[in-house]
Symmetry: C2
Subunit: 337 residues, 2 copies
């Protein structure tokens, strides 16, 4: 039985392109002990993947040219040598990778572990609001940003997978939420989710002034998914004792050299005594069960709603990735196999 | 009875100059209730003063042109309408200002409060290691940076008022300390205080590489007194879960515009999950007694030693300030009246 799999062709110099990866056919390996064979149904596209196809230092090892492209997914067990897993079970894991069939070792530690898909949600929710992006938003708000009721929270890439959840959790915590996104349609979606105001960073000439106007008492919590000029403009408007969560830098990650030149934070940090903290969700995997219990309850109560952007077919993975990196997606980018 | 007093002449555009202030003669005001008249003996020069002579937003109100220049000092009470203060008492306050005679209200809250000078230290210690700079170093290390034994701490402006104390507290906490300063003489002083290695930022061509070589396991705690290119070079070498204390930005505070352009931290913060926090010592004044008890004990045990740089005469205040801002001082800059 053959498998189709995307492997990294070469490290991109600047933005990834369609030929950054190539699709190969390989035999599906035999199952070892305590493994499962999964027919993949959904694959996730996430900005962290850009860091995995770079030779630069990162928080974890990346993909080497010729290696299978990393990624999370959901699928159905079609063979099992593991006593706890049976044919027909639905499984989610961050270690699914970009392929049709995955041999998964369910008992790996941390984020590589395989998890059962809950029965009362669409299975692909495990890749978005009830998955890694949901945990990211939960940790950023509950553990790092900790907005108080009435405080102002700014979320960049607010209509994205993490941003949608972050904005809605901030509302649940009683904060006022200002969404930043790249189109009026995305902002309308954010307002529809209950966020209070929106700024279109593509059409706003003076972002600093727009944030100042939208946040007259300053920004208490900034959930930064983009980096770059949006980051600078929000940092220029921090309130005293602000908390900044550095979660993503999609705006600058394709730049060469990879280091990011702009406004140094030092002046504002002293004036405001603010705190900036880098967030890598894989450090917080021990909070996964706690987060998912709350996220599921908030979803049942209607407080977490979510928009997906679905393309069909494994062959569209590179296209879906490029689309997400360029902000062409409307909601969480997924591929359905 | 007349008083000589330095007032701000105008906001400097770029670095301050000798004519940024002017020396005026004014009558000494009458004492109101619960006040003391102080003959000033020592005045402190500190980098925070640059922020007080700028119209830009700061953590507290600055000096307006024509107003008395802010500053801490030590002196002798020569008249008192306060029941707890007698002629001959030695007094220290952050609200002494640049003048020969000060009318002081001892009971003001927070940092403006007047405090007795301990009998077993040189009185000017209240302006350095047993004063605001000492508290700054204490809070930065004990409350924010929290180095663990064996971790690497980098201190910029390591031979300055805050830096000398920070480096020695870090040693007491069991850390390895790398000093950054602007001359070999200053570095020799830091090594004499027990710090482990030194980098001369003026003569080192590749600061990033020099820090990497001096900190082979990365920088766990960075006590940043300068900002600017030193900040960038240290941030490029953070260890995982590093803590960065943004305490001062003397390297860039004179730049116009005042906002500081350089390396954005976002990439490194995500890779390292580091935390950057702005420190304004006046937020931590409630820890003053605790800090001074420890600092005094460490001084008695010989673990805190300290170098001062003294100029004589009130008329030399602007010269002393310019000297400090340019790094021409060797140790804490003071003026003795």
């Amino acid at each position: 039985m053959m498998n189709r799999q995307w492997v990294l062709d070469h490290y991109p110099d600047g933005p990834a392109t369609l030929d950054t990866w190539r699709l190969i056919e390989t035999p599906i390996p035999e199952l070892g002990p305590r493994q499962i064979l999964v027919r993949v149904q959904w694959l996730s596209l996430d900005p962290y993947m850009r860091g995995r196809i770079s030779p630069a230092q990162n928080y974890t090892a990346g993909v080497k040219p010729g290696g299978a492209m990393h990624g999370g997914g959901v699928g159905e067990v079609i063979a099992s040598s593991h006593p706890d897993w049976a044919v027909g079970d639905l499984v989610e894991t961050m270690a699914m990778n970009w392929q049709e069939y995955a041999v998964v070792t369910p008992d790996l530690p941390g984020a590589a572990r395989a998890n059962r898909v809950p029965k009362d949600v669409p299975p692909q929710a495990c890749l978005s609001w009830l998955g890694m992006p949901g945990l990211t938003a939960y940790v950023g708000l509950l553990e790092i940003g900790r907005p108080k009721p009435g405080e102002t929270v700014v979320v960049s890439a607010a209509s994205g997978a993490v941003g949608q959840v972050a904005g809605q959790i901030a509302k649940l915590m009683g904060a006022r939420v200002v969404a930043i996104a790249g189109s009026d349609d995305k902002l309308a979606h954010c307002l529809g989710l209950g966020m209070d105001a929106g700024i279109n960073y593509r059409t706003t000439k003076d972002l600093d002034a727009a944030i100042a106007a939208a946040c007259p008492d300053g920004v208490d919590v900034f959930f930064d998914n983009t980096g770059g000029p949006i980051h600078d403009a929000v940092l220029a408007n921090l309130a005293v004792r602000a908390r900044v969560i550095i979660c993503g830098r999609i705006a600058v990650v394709d730049k060469t050299p990879a280091e990011d030149i702009g406004l140094r934070a030092s002046a504002r940090l002293i004036v405001t005594r603010a705190t900036i903290q880098g967030l890598v969700v894989f450090d917080w995997w021990h909070l996964r069960d706690e987060a998912f219990k709350h996220l599921a309850a908030w979803h049942r109560s209607g407080h977490i709603r979510f928009r997906e952007d679905v393309l069909d077919g494994l062959e569209r993975m590179p296209e879906a990735f490029l689309r997400m990196m360029a902000g062409g997606n409307h909601g969480k980018q997924l591929v359905r196999l």
